[in-house]
């Protein structure tokens, strides 16, 4: 296959974005391991974390192959600095309380399901295959987190307040889901990727439905954060990467 260098680089960047979202959120979820509110939920959060890290592994491996510089998934995960990470700012925010983790998971997974569902039609067979696997897993993430949003929102006064606060705090990070730049436009025109701005109406409808059933209020503010896709991150990503990368960087070449 002879692709133009620019298109190839856009596809590499695009796969990094997909992979980094899942790697960073998977790591944040893994911080709950041993700290879940109850044994069953501890297992559920760790399962979701493993699903996301598994998806990240496949996506970063493919992005390394597309780049063609011999970088493996591990090299991309452990030997890039924050400025080279391409994840959404939402996924790097600290895990917060259980309500924050759950509301974030619901907002992100609802988006990820639409995104991966569309990517099953990618003209790149390997990405289409990864997306098909991710759809199955993400459907469950939406079901689990959505059910929890309703339980918390329509629960006690405290669980309602915490869920509402989480929704208010997270809302300004949702705009970044749907931004598109040259990278997305290029992969969309090549048929390998998609322009995420097309997903916003369906996402909003799903979120509104669950928020209403949870007796929560959708925030009215329209200010949106941006920057993660071009390497501008919150202060939290550096701390996360320090912890995630320390073993691989202290013992280069180690296998475990």
């Amino acid at each position: 296959m002879t692709e133009q260098p620019a298109a190839n680089d856009a596809f590499f960047q695009y796969l990094l974005r997909l992979g980094d979202d899942r790697l960073v959120l998977g790591h944040r979820l893994s911080e709950w391991c041993g700290h879940g509110p109850i044994l069953e939920e501890d297992i559920a959060l760790a399962n979701t974390a493993l699903d996301l890290i598994g998806q990240a592994n496949l996506l970063l491996k493919l992005s390394g192959e597309i780049e063609g510089q011999g970088r493996s998934a591990d090299a991309l995960a452990y030997f890039r600095d924050g400025i080279d990470y391409r994840n959404l700012q939402m996924v790097e925010l600290p895990k917060g309380d259980f309500a924050f983790t759950i509301v974030r998971q619901f907002l992100f997974s609802s988006f990820a399901l639409l995104q991966m569902d569309a990517l099953t039609k990618s003209s790149h067979p390997e990405l289409a295959g990864i997306a098909a696997k991710a759809v199955k897993e993400t459907k469950y993430h939406v079901r689990h987190s959505g059910q929890w949003v309703i339980t918390l929102g329509d629960g006690t006064a405290e669980s309602h307040d915490r869920a509402q606060r989480a929704l208010d705090d997270l809302w300004r990070y949702t705009g970044e889901f749907f931004l598109s730049d040259d990278v997305e436009r290029t992969v969309a025109s090549e048929g390998v990727g998609l322009d995420p701005s097309t997903l916003e109406p369906a996402w909003r409808q799903q979120v509104e439905d669950v928020v209403r059933r949870a007796t929560l209020m959708l925030p009215s503010s329209t200010y949106m954060q941006r920057g993660g896709r071009t390497g501008r991150h919150t202060e939290h990503l550096g701390h996360l990467l320090t912890e995630m990368q320390i073993v691989a960087r202290s013992h280069p070449g180690a296998e475990w």
Partner: protein, 105 residues
């Protein structure tokens, strides 16, 4: 001894959530089998917890969850009257009967 008004902080408190018994049907279509129990706030939550705890490695194709409180169980005291009488009634077992001549086994 007077009742303490607040629980000691270093004693983890068990979940207030109700207990559910989990039954999983194996992929080969055999009947549902009891595999364990989970805590959950409602039936959907119990299904999800059961899925996460018991069926992550392809163990099943269907799950039943039943509130533990809904199960009526025999007690250890029932051991005698419930289960013993069979032992002195050998005619309840197929081995009691001789296979008639001419029947191929």
């Amino acid at each position: 001894m007077s009742q303490p008004t607040t629980p000691a902080v270093d004693h983890p408190v068990d979940s207030q959530w109700p207990l559910w018994e989990v039954f999983v049907q194996p992929p080969n279509g055999e009947p549902h089998e009891h595999v364990g129990s989970v805590h959950a706030v409602n039936a959907e939550h119990a299904l999800q917890n059961a899925r996460d705890v018991y069926t992550r490695r392809g163990e099943g194709v269907n799950i039943w969850v039943v509130p533990t409180a809904s199960i009526t169980a025999s007690t250890p005291e029932d051991m005698g009257p419930f289960f013993d009488p069979g032992n002195d009634k050998p005619y309840r077992h197929p081995q009691f009967y001789k296979v008639p001549q001419g029947v191929r086994v």
